[in-house]
């Protein structure tokens, strides 16, 4: 009996030590593979973050350039145009027979007023003074008034959370004004809408801004429509103030966007 058991002992020793050896080796190999995978994942996340940052930077720079171009154009077309007009008129006014003509002076005043208005518009666009002076609601109303046609039918504003919105920090309020400005300008440029509705209200302790137009909408899946400059601008501004947002649009059924802000941040 002992003999048969003894015969197997060599094999058992080899099996035991070999088994443990194999166990340790496979543990180490599994461990290394797992760690490799972890490292790769971490690297991918890092790369994605980097490319997102780069994209954000590019958008910021590009929108800055766009803004400069627009200011330059406004100055050139509106202020520059009116000034050269005035200059030409003054040249002509130097003729003696027209010196007493009150109509001409009135004309000059009108032109100067227009220049003043243009400069005001440009500077208001650069930095809405109402925002710093009177807060978000007034600034938004001013923005809407400046765009609305005479019968006030294009944009409707319903603000049920004035108390909250007027306490928004300046950066946040400015970002929201810019986002709404961009949305409105998108609607006017591409949406061909007759009505725009902006509602602001509180829901479950969250500040919600709902933007809706009845324009032509677009196919969000279409590469051509995806993330133009304006849309990226909106996204990066909302990301900066930690707001979440959803968009809904389809060809023929308008465009809507919900922006949600945690009011504890406000």
């Amino acid at each position: 009996m002992q003999e048969t058991v003894g015969d197997n002992i060599f094999l058992l020793i080899i099996l035991c030590t070999g088994g443990i050896f194999l166990l340790v080796i496979s543990f180490v190999i599994l461990f290394i593979n797992n760690q490799k995978k972890l490292l790769r994942n971490r690297q991918q996340i890092h790369e994605a973050e980097m490319s997102y940052q780069k994209e954000l930077m590019r958008v910021v720079l590009q929108s800055q350039e766009e803004e400069r171009k627009r200011i330059g154009q406004d100055l050139h077309d509106d202020v520059g145009g009116s000034l050269s007009n005035l200059r030409m008129l003054i040249n002509r006014d130097e003729l003696p027979e027209e010196q007493e003509n009150k109509a001409v002076i009135a004309n000059h005043k009108l032109l100067i007023d227009k220049i003043i208005q243009d400069v005001r518009n440009i500077s208001h666009n650069l930095s809405p003074p109402a925002l710093a002076l009177f807060g978000f609601t007034v600034a938004l109303e001013e923005l809407i008034d400046s765009i609305n046609d005479e019968d006030n039918s294009l944009i409707t504003l319903i603000n049920d959370a004035e108390a909250i919105t007027d306490q928004l920090p300046y950066d946040m309020a400015l970002a929201l004004i810019r986002v709404l400005q961009e949305l409105i300008s998108n609607t006017i440029k591409h949406g061909d809408a007759k009505r725009i509705e902006v509602s602001i209200f509180m829901e479950n302790g969250l500040l919600v801004i709902q933007y809706r137009d009845e324009g032509v909408g677009y196919d969000p899946g279409n590469q051509k429509n995806r993330k133009g400059m304006g849309m990226q601008n909106i996204e990066s501004r909302l990301n900066m103030i930690n707001a979440t947002y959803t968009m809904k649009t389809a060809p023929g059924s308008g465009f809507s966007m919900f922006i949600v802000l945690n009011s504890s941040l406000v």
């Binding site: 020793i13 180490v28 760690q35």
Partner: protein, 218 residues
């Protein structure tokens, strides 16, 4: 008298092979940090003990008392090594307690339970288990390391230590059983066990040498 092949392997080749990691460590010592320095001392200790064991055996003197002392010294060095690489506070605390408890256990063991002229088959497996625990703790710690596994010398050394101590656990435990039996078959089992032990030791030395070869200027 010609030595049998297995004795050349276990008694000469493997003990001498400790010079491989020692040589590699010597060439990289300027880059070594504290933990690698402890491994360097461990290799030197191994070398001294190997020489001592061979000399004593050649003079027909029982060299097992050396093993009892070696077990304590080896444990102390290994503990210091893991103290320097493990960042977890609890692990450090446990190792510090064991640094006192284990040598006491060894001394009690050879004073009251196992003769110093026998293998310390209680102390050495316990030592192996503790070191395996430390080694696994290091694996757990290095799971979320930022660098590639293969670039860190400690990873290779730790793998060598885990392989040696887990593989040799059985051998440490049963070394008295096979040596005390005088029949030819048990003698053969004994030789097989020590051949396996020598191979595991050789693998550990090679992994430590490879680990040292990964040392670079920080």
């Amino acid at each position: 008298m010609a030595l049998p092949a297995s004795l050349i392997y276990t008694g000469i080749i493997v003990p001498v092979s400790v010079l491989i990691p020692i040589g590699m460590a010597a060439s990289k010592r300027k880059y070594a940090d504290r933990s690698l320095e402890i491994i360097w001392y461990y290799l030197l200790l191994d070398c001294v003990v190997n020489v001592l064991a061979v000399v004593l055996a050649n003079h027909k003197i029982n060299n097992l008392p050396v093993l009892h002392v070696f077990t304590i010294l080896e444990f102390v060095l290994m503990s210091y090594f893991y103290l320097s690489v493990l960042k977890e506070e609890a692990a450090g605390r446990i190792i510090k307690y064991l640094l006192i408890l284990f040598p006491v256990f060894c001394i009690v063991n050879f004073l009251f339970f196992q003769s110093i002229y026998q293998f310390n088959t209680y102390a050495r497996p316990v030592e192996a288990l503790i070191i395996m625990g430390c080694s696994l703790a290091y694996f757990a710690q290095s799971n979320d390391a930022e660098t590639r596994w293969s670039l860190n010398p400690i990873n290779w050394i730790n793998t060598g230590i885990l392989l040696y101590f887990s593989g040799a656990l059985f051998i440490f435990s049963f070394s008295n059983l096979t040596v005390n039996e005088l029949s030819e078959k048990y003698h053969a089992i004994n030789i097989l066990m020590w051949n396996i032990h020598a191979t595991l030791l050789l693998i550990m030395y090679l992994l430590i040498a490879f680990g040292f070869s990964k040392c670079r200027k920080q």
